[in-house]
Symmetry: C2
Subunit: 342 residues, 2 copies
């Protein structure tokens, strides 16, 4: 805590198309003082999420980041000063913060991070953070897989996808992942226990052949993280009354023009499928429910998780890029500051 | 019943694009004899449905019509000969039949049509037939509108749409229809009691302005009959947790190439919407449930219905065309034979 300077990434323009890095500018300012009811949080980990890209561009389930302000992100940090009775210096917290060394918060979007012996703090950026909640409730609450059913997840080697497939297995389903490299596919099958994993980079015809072999009984839950042509191919395998939790459409976030939906939506009609959008914010108050089931899986090693760490706030825009180019495996974070001693 | 000849429309090819009439050929054959357990049905009314176009082309929730066979359709007819113990000559029946004067059935797809004093037989082709069931269960079971919510329905002057809007009103909702002419829009508002109706032919910008004025509280249920750009405009008004019963995509059935889905499916995610396909066949065994609620509405005139009748089997292909060109209002049927004396 010797830094008197607060380094920040400022959003300077709304990105048009792919080049979102150009819309972020580095700025150094004095560390701010907390006002009444505010806390000052020192960033330890900055979560890299596809939603960062959305927040740069437009209002969604939250407003867009205002131009001229620090970029928003989910952070894990340490309270260093507090004028809010809920928080004390030294508390570890997670929630909405800024792409900065420090940020102020009124505490409303912050939750406590417990110290659990043997569990690295990084677990709270992924499996026990928003992405874990997203996977858990998106699959179980929206997807409602039954034992023996087939669950297909896209962006399967990502933070959410890698959990979805494992959660599917842990409830007795067949889990099939779609990902962007053979190496990721091997990781999903050999390390995480997916029944099959397919590299989509061979194109639609190859993916179709792959799904046909990997899903001999069709698809009962298609966990949507990607959109575009991959969805169109997968729709062809949907079973009667299949469910599609609509979690993300990452193939479209960097497009300069809005991208069309799948050309075979008639399948949703004919096969009586249900597609449903959801946002993790709606499930924050049910985190305890997840922890009760997932805790033991973490403790005995049945549930595996991986955090891909980039180092230094200055890498954040390049790090975010990886989500769109397929450059990460597991949960991607930027380490901005040191973890406090346990 | 003097006809010894069975006039029929035969499907000769799978339609490519718009010109489905070219795939139907007129044929005259002797009236067939029923085999064991079969009935011979004389067609009175032939229902014109968008699904006819699908059945010409491809397997869906039922197989495609085989080439060289009579075109399939929903009929209302009279049993003229029976070797099936469930049916007697003179029984009125409805269900899957053929575009023909007569067809054979094993009785499995046929249900009885009761004679109700004061209720024209034509009611069983629309409001009390499959289209009424479609509107009833699609809206109430899939759409689940609550009193005070706003329901928007496309193809609103059609057989299903005109019922959906009235069912919405009868459960205390605001009903807004989208249709293809000013005359239809007037009919929806002035005769059927819709709160507003919009003619989509002015294009996307005009429809957007119209919806903005007609749906000041947004859209809670978007009953989908059409697809394409109309849906894309409507999605912009979807409220948090809106429901989209996916009933039809008529804008796409005549397209030579599969048509892309809406370019703003991210709205379904961000606003946590639910889209769900359904098929009326799944609700056939719940028809009694509908009759109990709808019967009194019909009896006291609160629920209005209209049947648009074309005359003569030879008009069937031209009649079907009307569904796609916006040429009908209400339920479209072809009268093939005379109603029996009551």
């Amino acid at each position: 805590m010797t830094a008197r300077t607060n380094r920040q990434w400022i959003l300077t323009a709304r990105p048009q198309g792919d080049a979102f890095e150009d819309c972020l500018a580095w700025r150094e300012q004095p560390v701010p003082e907390p006002g009444p009811d505010q806390v000052l949080v020192r960033t330890i980990y900055l979560s890299m999420d596809p939603s960062n890209r959305i927040w740069m561009q437009q209002a969604s389930y939250i407003p867009a980041v205002p131009l001229g302000e620090p970029m928003w992100g989910v952070i894990l940090g340490e309270v260093v000063e507090s004028r809010n009775p809920r928080f004390r210096p030294g508390d570890l917290v997670t929630g909405m913060g800024a792409w900065a060394d420090y940020c102020l918060s009124d505490g409303k979007g912050l939750g406590p991070v417990p110290r659990i012996p043997g569990l690295p703090l990084q677990a709270f950026t992924g499996v026990l953070g928003p992405t874990g909640l997203t996977a858990y409730f998106g699959l179980y609450d929206i997807g409602r897989p039954q034992p023996g059913e087939t669950v297909v997840v896209t962006a399967a080697a990502g933070a959410v996808g890698s959990m979805v497939g494992q959660f599917a297995k842990l409830r007795g389903c067949r889990a099939v992942g779609i990902c962007g490299s053979d190496e990721k596919a091997r990781w999903l099958v050999e390390e995480l226990g997916f029944d099959a994993a397919l590299n989509y980079r061979g194109g639609p015809a190859e993916l179709r052949r792959g799904l046909k072999a990997a899903c001999p009984s069709g698809i009962d839950v298609y966990f949507e993280n990607v959109g575009g042509w991959i969805s169109e191919v997968a729709y062809g395998f949907l079973n009667l009354r299949a469910r599609i939790p609509l979690c993300g459409l990452i193939s479209q976030y960097n497009a300069a023009e809005p991208q069309p939906g799948p050309r075979n939506m008639d399948i949703l009609l004919v096969r009586r499928c249900r597609m449903e959008g959801f946002i993790v914010l709606d499930y924050m108050d049910r985190a305890g429910e997840m922890l009760r089931e997932v805790g033991p899986w973490l403790a005995d090693g049945r549930l595996k998780w991986k955090v891909d760490v980039d180092h230094g706030l200055e890498t954040a825009p390049r790090s975010l890029r990886k989500l769109f180019s397929g450059g990460n495996t597991g949960k991607l974070v930027v380490q901005v500051g040191e973890e406090p001693a346990a």
